[in-house]
Symmetry: C2
Subunit: 130 residues, 2 copies
DNA sequence: GTAAGCTCCGTACCACTGTACGGTGTCAAA
DNA sequence: TTTGACACCGTACAGTGGTACGGAGCTTAC
């Protein structure tokens, strides 16, 4: 089940060095070095890296991911509080992105209605004081 | 009309050093140094900085802003394509965050129904593949 | 005309998120 | 048993987006 670092990296589609970096950042645990042979990365660790990558995709920094991961040692009640806080920031992020979405939508549709190809409403609007 | 760097920075609500940084990055042109006195930042330059800041708010990197600036002379259609690409990634991010939101919601409500404080459904789920 | 307060400029530094390098150890196959 | 590939480890460097500092020079107000 467990894999060497390069197999793990390949499966995850990331660089070996990234895995080592996450180890240094304490985002994942470095598997113990066996007396003989290379470190073996268990499926659990690989899943955690996938979790990190997923969270990053969603706009979480590694620091935020670390917080999420630290939920591990705490009693359920505390985990819940942290999860609720996270939920609130997720909601804020969604709201922010939705504002962005509608701003971009407006701009793009202005472009659609624009007949003068040499004059762009997006460029205009970015020059204004919002 | 033109302003010294600190007046410009103040008007824009940014740090003086940020203006200098943009000059070094060639995002704005440094006004010529007069024989006597300090550099004068014309309204056009201030507008461009506003442009940069607005574009950043919309999630464009400085590199993308540089592209946008180069598009200034180009047809609207090309600007539109860039904006649409950005729009697509924003939509993806929103969808991802909404999935996360509902996952967190589920977990939190599971916590609510959980009686054993030493065993947390959220922790269980973090071990899993998202 | 002098002090306070700007500007100028180069350089250094910051956090973040990796990536690369070089020397050495280990493994597996021919 | 030798060879080539991979692992290990520490350290250095990279790109992004700034921020800080220090020693000049210049301006403005008193």
């Amino acid at each position: 089940m467990a894999k060497t670092i390069s197999k793990a990296a390949k499966e995850l589609g990331i660089n070996i060095e990234t895995i080592r970096f996450y180890e240094r950042q304490k985002l994942i645990q470095q598997p113990p070095k066996p007396i003989q042979g290379y470190r073996q990365y268990p499926e659990k660790t690989i899943e955690r890296i996938r979790f990190i990558k997923n969270a990053q995709e969603l706009g979480f920094t590694l620091n935020e991911v670390a917080n999420l991961i630290q939920l591990n040692d705490k009693p359920c009640a505390q985990v819940q509080i942290l999860a609720e806080q996270k939920l609130a920031t997720v909601k804020e992020k969604i709201a922010g992105l939705q504002r962005l979405e509608s701003a971009l939508n407006t701009l793009v549709s202005q472009c659609h209605h624009n007949l003068d190809d040499n004059h762009c409403p997006i460029i205009d609007s970015l020059q204004k004081n919002l």
